[in-house]
């Protein structure tokens, strides 16, 4: 792919702050217990709240007046026809849209009560808490499997060798790739199959210990078997992370998600949220006629 416009990160400042400490098994258990036992703690760990969000590219409004809560440690699927602003919406959750010249946002998005567009929030730090997995697997072609997973830690500060070893193994185990690559960690990441590469990218995202993981059609470039493995992985990860997944595939949304948000596009081509509800409800008894038309295949 040829880059037409130089990308730039306007607020790119290396913040002095520390990256969040690598998760220990203890902490994971804590998280799980918290989600089960103390509902209040759930609400305060990885919960996103979007209100009156509008996203513009220059004069064009891509997303209009959208408000929705995204619960912690659950999978929220975003579905809707092409061009309805799903990916744009997703990218505002970790401020990746700021890489597009002319993109801006109004309204507010808070993560555990912190306004992620607040003046004190550094987008670079934000992206360590809100990670992202892309449509096409994009491992770094110059790096080995090990280095790909370690990249997030290495490129954000000095780490000891043993710490890196730990994080790499734990991340690869969590992304269900460890058994397949444990004997070839030094081989290039691009030597893996497409599905393995995507799980490598998930491991890479997990290695920096995010709270939220955004997935932008993570399986749309993969074959059915690789897709199934990614879906199984999502089901495991939802115990520990807040997951927001954009998907074109409604069956996938119904399989992997707890909540589903349906977006569509208005006559002005601006995308907006039609409704959000429990996935079962959306797929069996949606409130809106538009949603029903879409999930029954009448448009889109």
């Amino acid at each position: 792919m040829i880059v037409e416009t130089p990308v730039r990160d306007l607020d790119d400042v290396q913040a002095g702050g520390q990256a969040p400490p690598a998760a220990s098994p203890v902490r994971i258990e804590d998280r799980q217990r918290a989600s089960v036992v103390v509902p209040a703690a759930t609400a305060a760990s990885g919960t996103l709240d979007i209100s009156d969000l509008n996203v513009f590219y220059g004069a064009f409004r891509a997303v209009k007046d959208t408000s929705l809560p995204i619960p912690a440690r659950a999978v929220t699927a975003i579905i809707g026809p092409s061009g309805c602003g799903k990916s744009t919406f997703l990218r505002t959750l970790n401020r990746m849209h700021e890489l597009t010249p002319g993109a801006r946002v109004d309204g507010s998005i808070s993560l555990d009560g912190v306004d992620i567009y607040g003046p004190d929030v550094d987008p670079v730090q934000l992206r360590r808490v809100v990670g992202m997995v892309f449509q096409r697997p994009n491992p770094f072609p110059t790096m080995s499997i090990y280095d790909n997973v370690a990249a997030g830690l290495r490129l954000t500060g000095r780490r000891s060798r043993s710490e890196l070893d730990d994080v790499v193994e734990r991340s690869l185990r969590r992304s269900a790739l460890w058994d397949e690559v444990r004997d070839k960690l030094r081989q290039p990441g691009t030597s893996l199959s497409g599905g393995q590469q995507q799980r490598l990218c998930i491991a890479r995202a997990l290695a920096v210990d995010p709270e939220v993981i955004l997935m932008d059609e993570p399986a749309s470039a993969l074959d059915p078997i690789a897709t199934l493995r990614i879906e199984e992985l999502i089901a495991e990860l939802r115990e520990t992370y807040t997951i927001v997944i954009v998907t074109h595939n409604m069956q996938q949304a119904s399989r992997v998600s707890d909540r589903t948000a349906f977006f569509t596009m208005g006559p002005d081509r601006a995308g907006y949220l039609v409704e959000v509800d429990d996935t079962v409800k959306i797929f069996t008894n949606p409130r809106e006629q538009l949603t029903e038309d879409y999930i029954s295949g009448r448009f889109g």
């Binding site: 792919m1 040829i2 880059v3 416009t5 130089p6 990308v7 730039r8 990160d9 790119d12 400042v13 290396q14 990256a19 970790n94 990746m96 890489l99 670079v124 730090q125 934000l126 992206r127 360590r128 808490v129 990670g131 992202m132 892309f134 096409r136 994009n138 491992p139 770094f140 072609p141 110059t142 990249a151 997030g152 490129l155 954000t156 990218c201 890479r204 995202a205 920096v208």
Partner: protein, 296 residues
């Protein structure tokens, strides 16, 4: 008024009649032939140069030519002064041009806004086209005249100016070839932009950057004009004194080829062959390294 309709010729006559299609076929053959001749003409100069330099130069190449300086008086000796000069001035030029060229390309490709990038890119393209003798005269005015002394440092600066736009443009091209998805992947990990550029973008584009630098290096080795007004040339071996004149392979050819002495002309052929081999080896090595390889 009656409309007279001319009778059409028969289909057989239209398809196979005298002269039908002949003209078109003849023009076709002629134009194809011309295109082929033109294509061959593009190859002939390179083939001819290689042929003449090899046949005249290879026999003149000897150990003396590489290891000995010209004799102080009379005829004989070698071109060690020129070889050593080239091997000092060109690397120093690369030391100046490569970092500046790469950083400039990084600015244009990654950081500059569109208009600034366009202006800088345009200037680099113009600089490629500036006659190299003008670069020599330009450097002469501020690195030779004030000191009243031809010197090798001025020669290196002139060569660096020749190399700079080549390094910058090829680096920029290879940075543009790095997929945007890799920048996004890195930024999404919370890696700062500068670190993404250094560790992901430049790292991924490195083969292309090296190629451009090597090609610029080879080009600078063959430059004569920028050196005439700067380092001047010298019959003495000069190792390390950039404040004094130094010889170079192209200057040696230039000087010796003009002498009315066959032995000196032969030395020029020998050095020409040596220079050609070095430049060809660099070119072929670089192209072999990157043959069929594309990023992403």
């Amino acid at each position: 008024m009656a409309v007279v309709v001319a009778a059409r010729p028969s289909i057989a006559a239209r398809l196979t009649g005298v002269g039908v299609g002949r003209r078109r076929a003849a023009v076709d053959v002629a134009m194809r032939g011309l295109a082929l001749v033109a294509a061959l003409l593009c190859v002939v100069p390179l083939a001819a140069v290689l042929f003449f330099v090899a046949t005249r130069g290879a026999p003149a190449l000897s150990l003396d030519l590489i290891t000995k300086p010209p004799r102080a008086l009379g005829i004989g000796g070698g071109a060690a002064n020129a070889l050593l000069g080239t091997l000092q001035m060109v690397p120093l030029a690369a030391l100046m041009a490569v970092p500046v060229g790469i950083l400039g390309a990084v600015y244009v490709a990654e950081f500059g806004d569109r208009r600034a990038a366009g202006v800088i890119r345009f200037c680099a393209d113009v600089l490629v086209g500036v006659p190299s003798i003008l670069v020599g005269i330009f450097v002469f005015t501020f690195l030779v005249l004030p000191f009243k002394q031809f010197n090798a440092f001025a020669g290196s600066v002139a060569l660096a100016i020749i190399m700079l736009p080549v390094v910058m443009r090829t680096t920029e091209e290879s940075l543009h070839l790095v997929p945007n998805a890799l920048r996004e992947a890195s930024l999404a990990l919370g890696v700062p932009y500068w670190r993404t550029v250094v560790s992901v973008v430049i790292r991924t584009g490195l083969p292309g950057i090296l190629t451009g630098s090597m090609l610029a290096f080879a080009r600078a080795m063959g430059e004569t004009a920028p050196l005439l007004f700067t380092t001047l040339g010298s019959r003495l071996i000069n190792v390390g004194d950039f404040g004094q004149p130094m010889d170079s392979l192209p200057l040696f050819i230039y000087v010796n080829a003009r002498q009315p002495v066959n032995a000196l002309n032969d030395q020029a052929w020998g050095v020409a062959f040596l220079l050609l081999v070095i430049v060809l080896v660099i070119n072929v090595a670089v192209r072999a390294r990157t043959w069929g390889r594309r990023i992403g």
